[in-house]
């Protein structure tokens, strides 16, 4: 078992966990990040996806050592035409219908990736995902870079606009929540711990965070 392959679960803990924390245990993932710009170039040339065409061949090979799994990475998150800075603020109106476009990289080019978006998920509040979207590999031309669109219509429900996270300390700002976007390289298990983020053995995940403000008006 490699150092990374025992991470058959998503990182858990406080919503303000530093994004680098999950990557710190994935050396290969860090290298992937270093080459993220180049890897984006390999993404789908056509259709909904990332365009371009200039990748060192070695980075496209994911099956040389079948025992090694590398963590997937989230390279960008866009919502309805705006790129969101990691750990930055994002505002949604209750009952709006935003779509989140997530760019991903996984050097295991045949892994089917699954993106889930959680609101106020932590170790003591393992709430179900508000959104899920898959990013499957192309059978014809599998690439490390992927792209998927997630429906975020249920990210801000009416009670979110007037509440704080269940773990928030007194005096927290009303309407502010924690949005956690997790990419899994295995389909999360229907039952397991942590709930809704547990994966089969060997599965890896990476998490990015945003400050979510649910506003009752658009």
């Amino acid at each position: 078992m490699t150092q990374m392959s025992d991470l058959a679960r998503a990182p858990r803990g406080g919503a303000m966990r530093n994004r680098a924390g999950s990557l710190a245990r994935a050396g290969l993932a860090r290298r992937v990040h270093r080459y993220a710009a180049q890897m984006m170039l390999v993404a789908g040339f056509f259709g909904i996806g990332v365009a371009a065409c200039a990748l060192p061949p070695s980075l496209t090979v994911g099956a040389e050592d079948a025992a090694v799994n590398s963590a997937p990475a989230i390279t960008s998150v866009r919502v309805d035409g705006s790129e969101l800075p990691f750990n930055g603020y994002v505002t949604f109106a209750v009952s709006s219908r935003p779509t989140m476009n997530v760019s991903l990289v996984d050097t295991d080019v045949n892994d089917t990736l699954v993106v889930r978006a959680f609101v106020d998920y932590d170790a003591t509040n393992e709430l179900a995902a508000r959104s899920e979207c898959p990013a499957a590999p192309s059978a014809v031309n599998p690439t490390a870079a992927r792209n998927t669109n997630c429906d975020l219509r249920s990210i801000c429900v009416p009670t979110d606009a007037t509440s704080v996270p269940p773990y928030a300390p007194p005096g927290s700002l009303v309407g502010f929540h924690d949005l956690t976007v997790v990419v899994f390289d295995r389909q999360p298990l229907p039952v397991g711990s942590p709930a809704f983020q547990a994966m089969p053995a060997g599965g890896l995940s990476t998490t990015v965070y945003f400050h979510l403000f649910c506003q009752a008006s658009p």
């Binding site: 056509f46 705006s82 990013a135 506003q215 009752a216």
Partner: protein
Amino acid sequence: MTRGRLLGVLVALAGGCIAIPDQATPQCYTDSDCNAAAGEVCAENICYGDPPTGRFAVSVVAPVDRPDLTNIERADEDLPAYGFLADLTLESPVAVAGRVTAAGCVPPTAPATCPTGALGATIRITRASRFPGGDGVQETGRSTGGDATTSSFSLAVPRSQPADADFALTVVPDDRAGVDPVTGPAPAELVPPLRTTFRASGDLDLPLALGGDDLPVITGDLVDAEGSSLADYRISAIGRFIGDAADSEVSSVAYTTDGHFQIVLSAGLAGPVAIVARRTGSAMVVLPTLQLVGVAATTSSTVHLAEPALLGAQAVTTLTIEGTTGAGAVLPVAGARVIATATAAVTGTPNDQAVMTAEVTTGDDGVAQLPLLDGPAFAAGYHLRIVPPGGSNLAILDESAFALANGAIVLKPRIALLGTVVDAAGVPVSSVSVTVRPSLHFQYELTDASQVFLAQIPAATFVTAADGDFVVFVDPTLEAIAGHYDIQLEPPSGSVVPGDTVSDFAIPDGTLGPAQVSLGTITLPAAAALHGRISDPGGNSVEGAELRVFRRPAAGSTLCALPHAPVGCQVPAALQAQATSDRDGIVRFTLPRTP
């Protein structure tokens, strides 16, 4: 060249992108290898051009690491026959900065104690898109509270053009859920939100003074059915700044400890407001939210909110939410949201209501414990709604007259939508992401409350197998109206086939789970290859920018004539392609050649 051959060559060429020599069969060497009569040209060994007919719009999204650039939108984009969009030039933004302060605090705050420094607040700047369904402008920032004499916020927005709508800027003061004995009242307790509009032909410095002595003040008290004061409530006004907007808080916030309150309304409200008092005390004490509707928004007034009589005692209703697996076993459902709501009117004052709501999420045991009131005031019953977690094959529950009783609720199965995705040559396409969303037609058939509920149901997704087959589970009805769904098909990154959407697929009347409904074979259309270059105002290539291409709807849609279409309804354009620019600023994308 036939479209089938085109497809094959594109497949091979895409393989060439990742340097697999044996798949790198060029599609063309010269224009004569392409459909030159239709305008196609050979570039990068690809036949580009001959775009589909129709009306298109584009937006270009600046990368987050280029704050010197801002997005652009074009409502009518001519797609040239040769397939190259040469002038996708991002613009330099203008800076909108300002300082959020208090012009005057809610009475009886003494002027001397009203903050003079900047206030903490959320700043949101929006502008309608240049075409229905487009992105428009949506920027969010924070005003940092404190004594700084300089700007408390700064945001970058596109420069206003003559035909553009005005920007709308909304300031929502920070609300810290109660008086902090150390820091004093939160900004939201001192001043109401502010909405203003502006145009930005250059950098702007906006002084934003919230509150003021000339704004309407609502003074009121909260009492129970016996006339005794109620403590531990959060009070605010709900209303609209403009007629076709959604409801939002439009006043300062009061936290009362003795039943009395004063709030200040925002300026420029449209129509009356509702005063809403929400319980904030111990979670162990369950009490309804009180609301008084129809309060004038332009004049000061005194209001009286009373609890209805006969609310009853707190009773925890324990429900076990279960569902049937494919094998027939009944198992608890974890992660289901269970929401119970009931409304009671105060006798003799029809505008005065009490709303009891409890919302919990089931754990691994499927158990939901709902703290509710069991009195005759809610004798009409609770409205119980259950939303299973995303990806579930279990249906929502929408029961309008739920009598309080412990027990198990077995969710019915959803119906299965089946289909097979093939390409234009009839070959099954694997790894296509299938996402099913309620169509606008379905939404506009439903009441506003049900539209809100529908929006809380996560979209169903599936990835096609090697044989192109998929199955997704959807709810057959809501409000006894048959479901209508848009089925979006997104081929994986690297694929050469375009995405497509099966629009407004109607579930046959009377269909109930676990029935299966087949969509049959869905043929993805042939693709038109296009490309373009994204640059900055200096002509330099921009890497990491996103091009979004929309197809605008044809005239004659009756969608906006549906009973619950929004005010000002316009049929939105459909997003048909997204692509991110490479280091040379080049974007490559396909559009479906739909008839």
